[in-house]
Symmetry: C2
Subunit: 378 residues, 2 copies
């Protein structure tokens, strides 16, 4: 079975490229002397997780408790749930911990710290807590130098054990080029280490100092004082990452297989069955120096077709045209011909699909890997 | 069980509002003297489909063959697959037709017409075909006045039976206000009727004249010459539809239940667990006169909280702030408090969820309705 035979649209994962990317990041973390705790939120897929992690038990990072529950059920025991915890989610954390999962949670405020402490006392459970540090003003976290940091730490009592600090250089996604990413990586490191040192100076043990984003992970020169690296999209990469300079287009492991369903000859449009439902609504390259529309167009073998992008997308229609506004040579792409689209954002595109069809630098479909979504069983 | 108890984020469907919207559109179609063939792509949910359709057997419209297969398996027999057909999808169409489904396909080019004809001859099957008309330059379709229309019709032979014409006023999504929508509706009608009349003048029977989009369906004053109305998002509506003027904000039946996970006090940010994974990446209101960010913020009862929108979204984080840039009164929204977000685009938000939690003008969860996604079984 090949990419010529399977239904369209289909999410295609090139396992050879994916594995190469995974091995490169393992080498990078080892070279920097830190543990790799890959984020599994991009793939939400056991086979991908097993290739990202340094052991089948982890460590790993997740963005939802459902990811924690599914991966734990498949043997991943060392997990950090890297979105601020709230009281209503604590019973699910306890269930995982009671079942043997080494689950760590994060928080950035006194209210959450008090709630976790009270829950642990009431339920007789111990929950390791990382304090989230805001290293670049991107979204959540306590500023590394703020009095709030020590206040939050002081609210952790009993079973709510301070296990360390964690930050994510979310603003590195706005970088373009090495210099910006190198600076973002150093800032991310420095802020995490500053927070850890302030806590240690106040008498706390801080075993875990966790940083990570793919742009900073790719460009980090030193992670002195850091204990672990979290990053996720480096496995598949995508056009946003290529625009940042964190990868080349040839490193992108995820694509969408589409079929030509018609044309608008006068406009030079090629219309396919790959719309935003299959590509996602992500337009992350719109704010970069090269706007890739809804994606770059390749032939079925994955070779870039110069100058063609998905200029517009409806739910189940993608419109391919020349980036420069000129008419595409539509005679090269008759109805029924197949193309592959490189996506802006792998996390967003992956989320639209129940499975990945796996190839290895070719068109033969060698496997199908399931993907899960959602936030809880119902 | 109420909205205070269920996990977050959760897609919430207010069945009372949904049913009211469905009944209103049934009345509108009946008043205009046309059949209602609702598009089921927004909900992808049997319980929603049953409320949209005028009978449990249909008629209905779908955007993927998987929708056709799933709804047919649940008893919906009169279906139009309203995305241009390609040769590779014909065996799945045949399987549905052989099983008793009255499935109609669409196409807009001679190559597809010849392929359907050849397939029908080879396989001994009859497939009703609608020719897609481009009424407003939005994406696919043959211009109603073009010689291509008759050329495409002439390529339909044998079992590939011309059943009618179909158009979709996609450009009506760019309207704001009644006048633009009324004009778009009249243009959509006129172009479909023109195409039908040209075909009839050339000797073809054209039993079906199909139009539809929610903005034009809401505002159509006459559908003379049209036989059926297709529209989909009118069941839930959303902020894009409200911005167009096709509904009021109080008509929006779909929302996202989120929980506050933290704040950035100095910025006046409220941070929730409702990110773009749960809201979708759709930013359809960005090009309207009022940009709603990633959504409008309501309290848990669904009452609008004036001036608050989701200004930014990461994968599992939503940032709520004042629309006017001022600091929100974050003391009103402590960690653990719950809010509901009205989405830009119901089709896109729905796609991120495996089920809808159903309420009826309140916070009691009275049911859970499954939703499906994907393009094929594997």
């Amino acid at each position: 079975m090949t990419l010529h035979d399977i239904p369209t649209p289909s999410a295609i994962l090139d396992a050879e490229i994916f594995e190469r990317n995974c091995e490169r990041m393992k080498g990078k973390a080892a070279g920097l002397g830190v543990a790799l705790r890959p984020h599994l939120k991009t793939g939400k897929c056991l086979q991908m997780a097993l290739r990202q992690m340094t052991s089948p038990q982890g460590p790993a990072t997740v963005s939802t408790l459902r990811e924690a529950e599914v991966f734990f059920a498949h043997g991943v025991t060392d997990l950090t749930y890297a979105v601020g915890i709230t009281p209503s989610k604590l019973p699910r954390c306890k269930a995982l911990i009671d079942a043997g999962c080494s689950l760590k949670v994060i928080l950035d405020n006194a209210a959450a710290a008090k709630a976790v402490s009270a829950f642990c006392t009431r339920e007789g459970v111990s929950i390791p807590v990382l304090i989230e540090i805001d290293s670049d003003g991107h979204r959540s976290g306590v500023p590394a130098g703020s009095p709030l940091l020590l206040e939050v730490a002081s609210c952790l009592e009993g079973g709510a054990r301070l296990a360390g600090v964690l930050t994510h250089a979310g603003d590195s996604y706005k970088c373009q080029g090495a210099a910006c990413c190198i600076a973002a990586a150093e800032n991310e490191r420095a802020m995490a280490v500053l927070a850890a040192e302030r806590l240690r100076a106040a008498g706390y043990a801080v075993p875990i100092v966790s940083v990570g984003s793919t742009p900073t992970a790719v460009f980090a020169r030193s992670l002195q004082g850091v204990t672990e690296l979290r990053c996720g999209v480096y496995g598949t990469f995508d056009l946003v990452m290529a625009g940042i300079g964190a990868c080349g287009v040839e490193d992108i492991a995820l694509s969408l297989l589409v079929e030509v369903i018609g044309h608008q000859p006068e406009k030079g449009w090629i219309i396919t069955d790959g719309g935003w439902m299959a590509l996602s609504r992500d337009r992350g390259t719109a704010s970069q120096s090269v706007d890739q529309g809804y994606g770059l167009v390749c032939d079925i073998d994955g070779k870039l077709l110069d100058g063609l992008i998905v200029t517009a997308a409806n739910q189940e229609h993608g419109i391919i045209a020349r980036r420069d506004g000129g008419a595409a040579d539509i005679s090269r792409f008759p109805v029924g011909s197949r193309l592959r689209i490189l996506p802006n954002h792998a996390c967003a595109m992956g989320a639209q699909h129940p499975f990945y069809r796996v190839v290895r630098l070719g068109v033969e479909v060698v496997d199908t890997w399931e993907r899960f979504g959602g936030w809880y069983e119902c």
